[in-house]
Subunit: 132 residues, 2 copies
C-alpha cells in the first residue's frame, strides 16, 4: 500500500539535510540530531547510499558522509529502487505456482498502466526539486 518504506523515507530526509550543507561532511551523530532517526539504523542506510554511489563516505576522525558529485539530481525513483528493489505495483499472487492467466489477465494490464504513470511521476521528484 505505501509507496515509500521507512528506509527510503529516512534516506531521503538524510540526503536532503546533507544536500543543504553543500559539500560539508556530516557524521552519523550529526545527522541523527538533524533527522531524529535512530543512530545505528541511519548508519546502515547511509552505508547503502554510499555503496549505491549517492553519498561518499569518509572514515576516521572528522569523517562522515557527503553528497557525491551531481547526485542532487537523484530521483525518488532511484531511492526506491535502492531500498525496495525493483519497482512493481502488480506482483501476481500466483507467481510462485505459475499463474494460470498470464497474458490474458485483464487486471495486470490495467495495473501496468497505473504503474507507468506512477514511475513517471516518481522520476520527476529529485532531491534538488525538494530543496526549493
Amino acid at each position: 500500500m505505501k509507496l515509500i518504506t521507512r528506509d527510503t523515507d529516512y534516506a531521503l530526509r538524510a540526503i536532503c539535510k546533507i544536500a543543504k550543507e553543500k559539500g560539508k561532511v556530516l557524521s552519523v551523530k550529526e545527522l541523527t540530531g538533524l533527522t531524529k532517526v535512530p543512530g545505528p539504523y541511519l548508519r546502515k542506510i547511509l552505508q547503502r547510499l554510499n555503496k549505491a554511489g549517492v553519498l561518499i563516505s569518509h572514515k576516521g576522525t572528522g569523517g562522515g558522509f557527503k553528497l557525491a558529485r551531481g547526485k542532487v539530481n537523484t530521483r525518488l525513483f532511484d531511492l526506491i529502487v535502492i531500498f525496495q528493489g525493483h519497482f512493481k505495483l502488480n506482483e501476481c499472487f500466483f507467481k510462485k505456482e505459475k499463474c494460470p492467466d498470464t497474458g490474458t489477465c485483464p487486471l495486470k494490464k490495467r495495473i501496468d498502466k497505473i504503474e507507468k504513470n506512477v514511475i513517471k511521476e516518481l522520476k520527476e521528484i529529485t532531491i534538488a526539486s525538494l530543496l526549493r
Copy 2:
C-alpha cells in the same frame, strides 16, 4: 510497495468467478476449486465482502455467496478500502511522534498528487470492466 494485497487480489478473483455465474449461489467449496485459494482463508474474505454488502450470503444446505444487486459496478478502489483500510500512499513516518514538518513538507505535496491520480484510475477499474 504493492498496491493490492493478497486479500484484495483473492477477493477480486472470487468476485469475478461469482459474477460470471450470474445470480447463481456458489459455496466456498466450489469457489476454492475455481480460484485455488485455501478454503478457510477464502471464507473469511467472502464474509467480509458480505458484511461490506458486495456479496450476499445464504446459510444452510445449498448455501453460499452471490453478487449483490448492482455490485458488478464495484470498483477496485472499493475493494482496496474494504481490505486495506483507507487509501494512503504517503503516510508520514513521523506521524506517531508528531511530524515536525507537517504543512511545509514538500514531499507530501508531491506524493499527494500521485495519489490522486492513482485513486482516479483505481476507480475506473470495475468488476464489470474486468469481465469483458
